[in-house]
């Protein structure tokens, strides 16, 4: 079976999400398990358009994680240092 030309992009996305998952509130193990499951579920997909759409969704998840981490930190700082 020929390696899909989009494979490097998919691998890159996986690595980025794995890195982001280290700070996941429910634990990095929890995150890693779900990340693997999500990618494994789609491993037989060949259509480039479908793959690109999935990569875009993965990038969206990455953005959501960054936003989650920022908000948690911001709220904690606001609560600790600013009287409401």
């Amino acid at each position: 079976m020929m390696a899909n030309p989009l494979r490097p992009e998919v691998v890159r996305l996986y690595k980025n999400l794995l890195y982001l998952g280290r700070e996941y509130p429910k634990g990095s193990d929890y995150f890693r398990a779900r990340l693997r499951a999500a990618f494994t579920k789609n491993k037989s997909v060949q259509d480039p358009e479908q793959i690109k759409a999935m990569i875009a969704r993965g990038e969206y998840v990455a953005q959501e994680l960054e936003a989650l981490y920022y908000l948690r930190k911001y709220r904690a700082m606001k609560k600790r240092y600013y009287e409401e």
Partner: protein
């Protein structure tokens, strides 16, 4: 004009970690505990990088004082967009007593050595909550200071700073070179993603010793004891106002 900005970044115990006091009450447990960049320092780095992206400054230099692990904190700053780093090596007993006075002496020496136009620091560190380093650095350099900055605008050779103060906001205009300290609402720091961390590996971190800068690290402070805050006592419920007054009298409050 070098157009150079120095940003101080401190390695602290991560904000989300539950702090534990050491059994001998000499400090808090740090071994094996997650550390990260002080949140206010992240905001400082972000501001400096933003200024560079707007082409208002030419170079952002991230500085951290501490042991080997401080280099990780500098790497994060580099991943956020700083151009190079300076690791001022302080370890052992010196590191235990390292505080705002020593760090500000180091920052002042570096500012002169690197011909910096601007120093941006976080307003305070979440571990010691001193809120002194920026102010002391400005005093040592005889530079103006814009502390608790929630908005910074460069205007020629002056800086307009909107400061968060009790009761509202204060807008001041100061000359450069200057020291700024970042408050929470100054900006939203970008996340140091894996690709950026990889790219940052090419950037240089210089190693410097405080002695090279002519700085004496002797501390004038001695930590006597570190202990947990008192346990919050359970509240009491009363039925009537008379009961409340009675209880207050009992406790000697009235």
């Amino acid at each position: 004009m070098s157009g150079r900005v120095l940003v101080g970044v401190k390695r602290v115990i991560d904000y989300a970690v539950k702090i534990r006091v050491k059994a001998d009450n000499t400090g808090v447990v740090t071994d094996g505990v997650k550390h990260s960049m002080n949140p206010f320092c992240e905001i400082a780095v972000e501001e400096a990088v933003k200024l560079k992206e707007k082409k208002l400054v030419k170079e952002v230099v991230a500085v951290s004082c501490g042991p080997q692990q401080s280099q990780e904190t500098i790497r994060t700053a580099l991943a956020m967009g700083a151009d190079r780093g300076i690791h001022v090596e302080v370890s052992g007993k010196d590191y235990e007593t390292l505080g705002p006075l020593q760090v500000s002496k180091i920052m002042a020496a570096l500012a002169k050595k690197e011909d910096a136009q601007l120093i941006i620091l976080g307003k305070q560190a979440i571990d010691d909550d001193c809120n002194q380093t920026g102010q002391m650095t400005a005093a040592l350099l005889d530079w103006p200071q814009g502390t608790f900055a929630s908005e910074v605008t460069l205007d020629g050779d002056k800086i307009k700073v909107v400061r968060e103060i009790d009761g509202g906001l204060e807008t001041i205009k100061i000359n450069t070179p200057a020291v700024l300290t970042a408050d929470l609402r100054l900006n939203t720091p970008r996340y140091a993603t894996l690709p950026n961390i990889m790219k940052a590996k090419k950037k240089k971190i210089a190693n410097v010793k405080p002695a090279d800068l002519g700085v004496n690290l002797t501390s004038r402070l001695e930590v006597l004891k570190v202990e947990d805050p008192p346990q919050r006592q359970a509240g009491m419920k009363v039925e009537t106002v008379e009961d409340l007054v009675g209880k207050l009298k009992e406790a000697g409050k009235v």
